[in-house]
């Protein structure tokens, strides 16, 4: 049952990404192109997502524990450090180059389009590269 619900949740997420326009690099890049062919649609994606998640989480966290697990697993770091800022800044540069973010590209694999596979392969390489770099200079544990 755990795996069935996890797959259904992934499916809802992937459907949302597909419908929203987040898997269309032209649309994503236009969202960032304020001085050119600007398309503000993606602000509505984040708006729609937060409009559900903010009240949804508020309700969920009134529970003592999740339904299919023993406890909530939430990030415990609170520090805003160079690692967070420089990492996020780097992510934005890559997002602005490729027009795909991880959440846009993974569901896009289901379309069979070669560019999605190319991006995900490069993304995995980047994640493993960062992991190797972090292993050489230990610091607070990474998310990936």
């Amino acid at each position: 049952m755990r795996l069935v619900s996890a797959m259904m949740i992934g499916l809802i997420f992937g459907l949302g990404i597909a419908v929203s326009g987040m898997m269309n690099p032209a649309k994503v890049l236009n969202f960032f192109d304020l001085a050119g062919t600007w398309d503000p649609s993606l602000a509505f994606v984040m708006g729609g997502a937060l409009a559900v998640t903010i009240p949804g989480y508020w309700l969920v966290f009134r529970r003592a524990a999740p339904v299919q697990a023993s406890r909530f697993q939430l990030p415990d770091t609170r520090v805003i450090d160079r690692r967070l800022v420089l990492g996020s800044a780097t992510f934005g540069v890559g997002w602005g180059i490729a027009g795909f973010c991880p959440g846009g590209a993974l569901p896009a694999l289901g379309t069979g389009i070669p560019e999605a596979f190319l991006f995900v392969a490069a993304l995995i390489f980047g994640l493993l590269l960062a992991r190797a770099m972090q292993a050489r200079s230990p610091a607070p544990k990474p998310a990936a």
Partner: protein, 143 residues
């Protein structure tokens, strides 16, 4: 390459993304961050955890097919950039989200929804550098 402004469709898709995030938290107690989920599948320690994350990823790839089944339309995908840019961007995104501890879904949706200051800083930072990058590539370099 101009694209159509699609506020309702984008908001509806966003609401589904939010629904998925809420369901993953209420059922499994986890943040729906694609960086963390993909990163978890690239580790082979705890197999129960690995199977859960792999199931989420498999479900995600079924999204476009379900959209086609429900609406008769496949998701629009236009690629205005070269394969070199896709690969370069992919590697840079991978390094960045690893150090930054999350991406658009983990920080942008889940973290901001629980008013995490880290996620707010991360979100403003990656949107700002993405805007700067597109300005440089399109308007200064003319790629």
């Amino acid at each position: 390459m101009a694209t159509d402004f699609t506020p309702w469709q984008s908001m509806g898709g966003g609401a589904l993304i939010g629904l998925a995030a809420v369901l993953l938290m209420v059922l499994h107690g986890r943040v729906l961050g694609v960086t963390g989920i993909l990163g978890g599948v690239l580790r082979f320690g705890d197999m129960a955890d690995w199977r859960l994350k792999a199931a989420i990823l498999v479900g995600m790839t079924m999204g476009p097919l379900v959209m086609m089944a429900l609406t008769g339309q496949s998701p629009q995908m236009q690629i205005p950039i070269s394969s070199v840019a896709i690969v370069l961007g992919g590697v840079v995104v991978g390094v960045g989200v690893s150090y930054g501890g999350g991406c658009t879904s983990g920080h942008g949706v889940c973290g901001n929804a629980r008013f995490s200051r880290r996620s707010m800083v991360a979100t403003l930072t990656f949107i700002a550098t993405a805007i700067a990058t597109v300005y440089i590539t399109r308007h200064l370099l003319g790629v």
